[in-house]
């Protein structure tokens, strides 16, 4: 493959003078009749998997198919917060690797993903919350993660707009402070992986919807299900033969898996978010309040980006609700009473594929050649790079990397759930 035009200030300058345009970031090509690997879902997980398959394992006859445009799902709808201050050692190790990959991403993918390591505050409004913060801080410290519990005065210093007085209904008693956490330009991550994967030969097919997964020899109807073997996928653009199919479709994961006869313990719920009009930057860190179900950060463009916890019911609708904005505004003003005159500009929702233990489902399934990278709930974006890296290893070596051994689908059959439930519920 011809190496892509390098992004650099010099390149910008040269093109600014010559008026030449940059080449396409990824090609538009015809669908081939067969691939070695088909990845369903052109979000950060699917694209990262494709990228690491090519880069780390030399597997380039790969197609990433998406029914819409790349990054149209959770990758483009999340609030772009990354952190590694998880609760369990497994979680910490996994997300720390992800954070490391994010940290090196700009250089590696040659695109500025605008990773802003501005620090991440999780506020505690009760003894119980403070105890959980301390628990996380202690686990984090033992694993070498920069994470500590700070007092209200230190909170005020880091985020002066927060009301740390005792007059509020839910006073801020302290916070878990995680300096390496921050925000990143989520779309740029998607585009960066797409461009780099494309440069190594991976094909990206947008507006290519998977209608069925072709399986033979299984126990279920039409030869699907356990014991079967994947032979390809049927798409809106035609059939593709492939011995390996990876499901990376987040909110639609259980529907896609059902096409292969694999039932997943996943329920899909909307997660809502909203953004305000821009104002001059006044909030330098990411602020999360579990008790008030809100997280907020201010982009370099000056907009406040808000998210909440998942809606309490299953739904595939990505329309926002009025109640969400009311509750959100009430809670945000509890934390930052001074911003009542800022205006909400846009609201939206994304779909979260929730598992019973708030941990993902990664790796092999009872159908040979059909792999899952799903169950990403509300924390999928943070895990994008490491998921891609480990899933690629899984596909290439046909064995499950240690980092994701805890996340196998079979854990639900053995009662070995992962303990992030308490920490991840509103753990942004």
């Amino acid at each position: 493959m011809k190496p892509p035009a390098r992004y650099s200030a010099l390149g910008l300058a040269r093109r600014g003078i010559s008026g030449d345009s940059w080449p396409r970031a990824w090609r538009q090509v015809e669908l081939r009749p067969s691939y070695d690997v088909v990845i369903i879902g052109g979000g950060v997980h699917g694209l990262a998997t494709a990228y690491y398959l090519a880069r780390n394992h030399g597997i380039t006859k790969v197609a990433v198919v998406d029914k819409s445009y790349i990054g149209s799902g959770g990758s483009g709808r999340n609030t772009a917060i990354v952190r590694s201050n998880y609760l369990t050692p497994e979680g910490v190790a996994f997300y720390d690797r992800s954070l490391q990959l994010y940290n090196d991403m700009a250089g590696e993918l040659n695109i500025n993903v605008m990773f802003s390591r501005r620090g991440h505050l999780t506020l505690a409004h009760s003894d119980a919350a403070l105890r959980t913060m301390r628990w996380r801080a202690e686990v984090n410290k033992l694993q070498g993660i920069d994470s500590s519990v700070i007092d209200p005065a230190q909170v005020k210093e880091l985020a002066p707009s927060l009301d740390v007085s005792h007059h509020t209904r839910y006073p801020i008693l302290g916070a878990l402070y995680h300096p390496p956490g921050g925000i990143i330009r989520h779309d740029a991550v998607v585009w960066g992986y797409a461009r780099a994967a494309d440069a190594m030969g991976v094909q990206i097919h947008q507006k290519t919807e998977v209608l069925d997964i072709l399986v033979e020899g299984g126990e279920g109807p039409e030869g699907k299900g356990a014991g079967g073997r994947v032979t390809g996928v049927r798409t809106s653009q035609g059939d593709i033969a492939a011995p390996i199919v990876v499901n990376a479709t987040a909110g639609w994961a259980s529907l896609i898996s059902a096409m292969a006869g694999v039932e997943l313990p996943i329920s899909t719920r909307p997660l809502q978010a909203a953004v305000t009009e821009p104002v001059k930057v006044f909030l330098p860190t990411v602020v999360v309040s579990g008790s008030l179900h809100v997280y907020v950060s201010q982009t370099d463009r000056g907009e406040l980006v808000f998210g909440a916890s998942v809606d309490p019911y299953n739904n595939y609708s990505v329309r926002g609700s009025l109640e969400f904005t009311e509750e959100l505004a009430g809670h945000v003003l509890e934390l930052m009473p001074g911003i009542s005159k800022m205006r909400l500009l846009r609201q939206w929702a994304g779909l979260c594929d929730m598992t019973p233990d708030y941990s993902p489902i990664m790796g092999f399934t009872p159908v040979e050649g059909f792999l899952c990278d799903v169950g990403w709930g509300t924390y999928g974006f943070k895990a994008g790079p490491v998921s891609g890296e480990t899933m690629a290893e899984c596909v290439a070596t046909k064995s499950v990397p240690e980092l994701i051994q805890a996340f196998g689908l079979d854990r639900f059959g053995h009662g070995r759930l992962v303990g992030e439930k308490g920490a991840a519920a509103v753990g942004h």
Binding site: S8, S126, R169, G320, E326, L333, K341
Partner: protein, 989 residues
């Protein structure tokens, strides 16, 4: 408004008014030959300003005077101020483009309020208005230097640079962040009074132009209760700034609305349409409050927002002096403000033609009319950055002008229809998007749907109003029929009114989006057509990708002005039609809405027990425990423990969750939601129970007593009450609908208090002399209904969370304080003293009783708590049973699985913080954690509960505790959870 604290206050009294003589008219003959570019004209017949009422305000610190009725924009232009803002990226000088709410160049700071739409906000006395995002001033802005390197700062340039060296990015980022557009927030802004209101009108009409007003009248005449909502401060839409005849139409419709009693809201916006016509209406005009959010469940919604005039893309199209025809009409006819002196008009429609007349009537010289219908076009606006000097036409000629008026077509703001699921379709002949398929109860009318004569417009609107009312009537009828409280339905169901509205569609209009040159597409984001073409060539060639890559349409105007031009430029770049490219989805809100309005008065509920005031006046230190405020202690929790253990103490436990259960299937319910057995609970007995979720994880615990054959009182943890209530209802309503159980939450029906300590029996005997307290007849885990301190029907049960002999008394809430006081009176000589939550926590820890959520976590199953024997696996069913069966109920665990243990540090002085990690001695391997810890006043040493790997749980095992400060100490696992009185002698005494 916002500035009553500002030093400059207007003094209307100080302005001498000469009756009959306009104070602030033009200096000469209405032509304004005053050396100014813009300024106030002589009186106009339809003007909305009141010349007898001047208003003083400040612009960037300078005192200016406007008129009542002025917007900030018209007042600034009347004062010859044109330079209002600077663009986001290149800091190009900007002035008014559309001079209405959507004007991207109009955002200013007013006092502590950022991003005020100055062409919409009415001028108020004393307003402190300033340009935002400029330094040092809007006239001389240093960042305008960005314009010089603009060719390098193409859309998305930041993705391509600052890649290496990585260590410099944080520095770059800090610089980039200073480029954030918008005004500033004063973090000390007080939270003003915002309110909310619920409403249930039959029909809501969004938009009060001629079509909306007519639809509202027609719907009201058909018998509907109608709410008419107008974004602008007055009714009339585009006719408001029209000729005398048009204004008379508005006035006539206004009288009809009055006569019919239609509720009219001005300066209010329907900001969102959610499921089932659940509408958010942001009312900015309600007296006494800053803003109000009206939440209306409308049976029908009529969408009549009119049209938004679209800017035109050509070189220099963002230069001050380039304006839409609507801006000119509004400024001259409405505010009597001259927008310029010498104009060129680019027209493709009647609005443009009318603009020529309006300009001439205001004495503005029209130097040229460029008729796009005859092939004329404008290719560039020339002049220095801040001023238009020449207009270049497509024939190569240049016309000297300081004003270029654009009338090249409109955009239909279909947002509310999008929110109802409608997708706009492109109307090729009319060169704009129009609503797609008609929806049942969301009906569009007015300019959104089509053009034509005023009569045709009003005919369509009238039919739409009638249709909306007819469909609302049917919905009303069905609602009455379907509610449980329905009276006899009055009459037969009305028929479903079919959509028989007259045809109404856009008139043919030339398709004008971009001239032969490149110019700004998104004024708020500084995105040019050239940027869009370049981005599409890079592969960002679907509307959504293009939008995300360039940020076009993402700014404060929400794409109202920019979306269609974006789509048109992309279509051009792709060599496709606009129809093929399609448009983007408009999400709520329709117009930005303040956080204050959404939040309202901010109700965060606080619950207090009936004895709360007593606690307060007796020195209790409050503890915020979820929704409750509780006494943490009364000064010295350790002393409270000692007193309770040696005498008797009393604690307010009113927040304890309580449910009254009745009906034949109560036992079935208890057997289902608790993992232990309930069939043999005798009347008068109390049993401890543990609830698990489906995955076998402990979810709540508490005791339940059988008060009578068919009556039970179930208690939950204080924090778990709401969740347990929902949990039981969920099982009853969705999984076991045939069971007859009524679950009544009675948490606040009772005031609850616990008498604990060796002398509690003595105390209770004084309070309830008729109650037989002999241990053999009222033993541990028994319940009685008794008269306590003269209060009948109190529930008294013998349990022992503290590990002491104790009686929990549930008293009718209104008598709580009385019984509490009586207990104190009777207990004086027994050494009775109140104790708080902290003392209770210490005592339960001494006794080894766990707290769900503190000593357990999201994975803790019943077996891990040593409750294995409690789990009844031979029951037909219980929630979590499959997991528990599988797990085995025995207390034997897999070696790595954690279980709950008691621990004591070898150094009795050291109290490890809760959440300290337990390590395998000599390593950093985490083997568990401390879940509870305290200094025990009873034992005089530190005590803990913790979770630890099962293979390290045997008594006597030593583990390392990593303290918060990094020190490592040793603790020893204890044989029993209880550090104190493991046999329970005191409890059962």
């Amino acid at each position: 408004m916002t500035s009553d604290s500002r030093p400059f206050l207007p003094s209307l009294r100080s302005v001498r008014l000469t009756p009959g003589k306009p104070l602030l008219g033009p200096t000469e003959s209405g032509q304004g030959n005053d050396g100014r570019l813009t300024g106030r004209l002589g009186a106009r017949s339809g003007e909305v300003v009141d010349r007898r009422r001047p208003i003083r305000f400040r612009w960037n610190g300078t005192d200016l005077v406007g008129l009542e009725g002025d917007t900030i924009a018209s007042a600034l232009l009347a004062n010859d101020v044109q330079l209002i803002s600077r663009s986001m990226k290149y800091h190009r000088p900007r002035s008014y483009l559309t001079a209405d709410y959507w004007d991207p160049n109009s955002l200013v700071q007013v006092g502590d309020e950022p991003n005020v739409r100055s062409a919409h906000r009415l001028l108020a006395p004393g307003m402190e208005v300033s340009a935002q995002n400029v330094w040092p001033s809007v006239e001389h802005d240093i960042k305008a230097a960005n314009g010089l390197v603009g060719r390098f700062l193409t859309a998305g340039f930041y993705y391509k640079t600052f890649v290496r060296p990585r260590r410099l990015w944080p520095a770059y980022e800090r610089v980039l962040a200073t480029f954030a557009p918008g005004g500033s927030v004063d973090i000390d802004t007080p939270h003003g009074y915002y309110d909310k209101r619920y409403s249930h009108p039959d029909v809501v009409v969004a938009g009060a132009g001629p079509a909306g007003m007519t639809a509202a009248v027609a719907a009201a005449e058909a018998g509907a209760r109608v709410m008419l909502v107008e974004h602008e401060p007055a009714l009339g839409g585009h006719l408001r700034f029209g000729d005398a005849g048009q204004r008379a139409v508005v006035a006539g419709l206004g009288r009809e609305l009055d006569r019919l009693g239609v509720e009219v809201l001005v300066d209010s916006t329907v900001t969102g349409r959610y499921e089932d016509n659940w509408l958010a209406i942001n009312q900015r005009s309600h007296p006494g409050v800053v803003e109000r959010l009206i939440k209306a469940r409308a049976k029908s919604l009529v969408v009549a927002p009119g049209l938004i005039e679209r800017p035109y893309v050509f070189a220099g199209n963002d230069k001050p002096g380039v304006m839409t025809s609507g801006a000119v009409r509004r400024l001259i006819n409405g505010y009597a403000v001259r927008p310029g002196r010498r104009a060129v008009v680019l027209t493709a429609n009647a609005d443009g033609d009318r603009a020529v007349e309006i300009l001439e009537s205001a004495g503005v010289e029209v130097a040229a009319v460029v008729d796009a219908r005859a092939g004329g076009d404008v290719v560039a606006a020339h002049g220095p950055a801040r001023r238009l000097e020449e207009v270049e036409r497509n024939d190569g000629s240049r016309v000297e002008a300081d004003l270029l008026v654009i009338a090249i077509g409109w955009t239909a703001p279909t947002s509310l229809l999008n929110m109802a699921g409608d997708r706009p379709v492109y109307h090729d002949a009319g060169a704009r998007f129009v609503p797609g398929a008609a929806l049942d109860t969301v009906l569009a009318t007015g300019g959104l749907v089509g053009d034509g004569s005023l009569d045709e417009l009003l005919d369509h609107a009238r039919a739409t109003g009638r249709l909306a009312a007819g469909r609302a009537a049917l919905t009303s009828h069905r609602l009455r029929f379907s509610t449980a409280r329905a009276r006899a339905v009055d009459g037969p169901e009305p028929p479903w009114p079919d959509d028989d509205r007259p045809d109404f569609a856009p008139d043919p209009h030339p398709a004008l989006f971009r001239s032969s040159t490149h110019g700004m597409v998104d004024f708020s984001e500084d995105v040019s057509s050239k940027d869009l073409v370049a981005a599409a060539a890079e592969g960002y060639d679907s509307v959504e990708l293009l939008k995300r890559f360039t940020t076009a349409t993402m700014g404060p105007s929400q794409g109202k002005l920019e979306t269609v031009n974006t789509v048109a430029v992309l279509a051009e770049a792709r060599g496709e039609t606009i129809e093929q490219v399609g448009t983007t989805v408009w999400r709520p809100p329709f117009a930005p809405v303040s956080l204050g309005a959404l939040a309202g008065r901010v109700f965060e509920p606080t619950r207090r027990s009936p004895m709360h005031d007593w606690h307060e006046s007796n020195g209790a230190v409050p503890l915020s425990a979820g929704v409750w405020i509780r006494p943490d202690h009364y000064g010295d929790p350790a002393a409270e423990v000692v007193n309770t253990r040696s005498n008797v103490g009393i604690i307010d436990v009113s927040p304890l969750g309580k449910f009254d259960l009745r009906g034949p299937n109560v036992t079935d319910l208890l057997n289902l939601v608790y993992v232990n057995r309930w069939s043999k609970l005798a009347v008068g007995a109390v049993r401890y129970g543990v609830m698990c979720t489906d995955d076998g994880v402990v979810f709540d615990d508490g005791v339940t007593g059988r008060l009578a054959t068919d009556r039970y009182l179930l208690t939950t943890t204080s924090s778990g009450a709401a969740a347990v209530g929902e949990w039981m209802e969920n099982w009853l309503q969705t999984e076991r609908p045939k069971w007859q159980v009524s679950v009544t939450p009675v948490t606040d029906v009772f005031a609850s208090m616990n008498l604990a300590g060796p002398k509690s029996r003595m105390l209770l005997s004084r309070l309830a002399p008729e109650l037989d307290l002999e241990p053999e007849r009222f033993g541990y885990m028994q319940v009685r209904i008794a008269t306590v301190a003269g209060v009948e029907d109190c529930v008294v049960w013998r349990i022992g969370f503290t590990g002491e002999l104790s009686y929990e008394v549930h008293v009718p809430a209104d008598r709580g304080l009385e019984v509490w006081q009586a207990a104190l009176d009777h207990g004086d000589d027994l050494g009775l003293a109140p104790f708080g939550v902290e003392a209770q926590r210490i005592m339960r820890l001494e006794k080894g009783h766990f707290i769900v959520g503190q000593d357990t976590d999201g994975l803790t199953k019943a077996g891990a708590l040593g409750l294995g024997r409690l789990v009844a696996l031979d029951k037909p069913d219980s929630v979590g049973r499959p997991e528990l069966v599988w797990d085995g109920t025995g207390d034997e665990r897999a070696p790595t699985e954690p279980c709950l243990v008691a621990l004591q540090p070898t150094n009795p002085e050291i109290v490890p913080d809760e959440a300290c990690q337990l390590l395998r001695p000599g390593t950093n391997e985490i083997v568990g954690r401390i879940t509870s810890s305290r200094m025990s006043p009873t034992l005089g040493r530190s005590i803990c509960l913790g979770q630890v790997r099962s293979d390290l749980a045997p008594a006597g095992t030593a583990v390392t505790v990593l303290l918060i400060d990094g020190r490592r100490v040793t603790a020893e696992i204890q044989a029993h959870h209880a550090h104190f009185d493991p046999e329970g002698v005191r409890l059962r005494g």
